[in-house]
């Protein structure tokens, strides 16, 4: 059962990953975290503000997950995304994939984050240090 959540409070990878670790069919687990970094294209970032069209973003990410599960034969994929104002170093997105083998998990992880960036109605405003 895939989990997709949009949070207004900080993400907690320890808790998120525990929910994926209960499948005894899995032999591999791959996770990805997207962080707020200080420099982007030569500009010094102060903070990032994320907003989402939450119900649609959840639906779109679930569609991406369904496609990834079919295409890469992985067992489960969970995605958690932040909204609101994030400081440097905070986690903007966390995702985890379980499967029988690592190769499929890595491929599915890359696919889901790449498609999320293209399709999910989530926006990021960069606030720069002047």
């Amino acid at each position: 059962m895939s989990i997709v959540k949009i949070w207004t409070k900080p993400l907690n990878p320890t808790i998120h990953s525990k929910k994926l670790r209960k499948n005894i069919m899995a032999g591999a687990y791959v996770s990805f975290e997207g962080w707020v970094r200080q420099w982007n294209k030569g500009k010094k970032v102060k903070e990032l503000h994320y907003e989402a069209y939450t119900p649609m973003a959840i639906k779109e990410i679930k569609k991406i997950i369904d496609k990834a599960k079919k295409e890469f034969s992985v067992l489960d994929i969970h995605v958690h995304h932040r909204t609101g104002t994030l400081q440097l170093g905070e986690i903007a997105v966390w995702m985890g994939v379980t499967g029988e083998h690592r190769k499929e998990c890595f491929k599915a992880c890359e696919y889901v984050i790449a498609e999320l960036k293209k399709q999910a109605p989530i926006w990021k405003e960069e606030r720069i240090t002047l």
Partner: protein, 80 residues
């Protein structure tokens, strides 16, 4: 007929609104709604820079609208 239009990101800044109801002739398309909004907000983004969704699903600009639909014009996304 009335449709509910949601605004996010740059479009929220331009319209200074999160949402509003717009009155349109029956069976108007998304493109016609966009034209209305462009008249109301001259800085509203043009269609090449937008995607469109009705009731939380992406669709084409030539899709006809129905009474009570929730519409969102989606500026370039940047999640992750």
């Amino acid at each position: 007929m009335k449709v509910n239009v949601l605004y996010f990101a740059h479009l929220k800044t331009i319209t200074q609104k999160k949402e509003e109801k717009i009155d349109l002739p029956n069976q108007s398309t998304l493109l016609e709604l966009h034209q209305e909004l462009k008249k109301k907000y001259p800085h509203f983004l043009d269609t090449p820079y937008l995607s469109a969704a009705i009731n939380e699903a992406y669709t084409h600009f030539n899709t006809s609208l129905k009474e009570g639909d929730t519409v969102c014009f989606i500026p370039p996304v940047a999640g992750g």
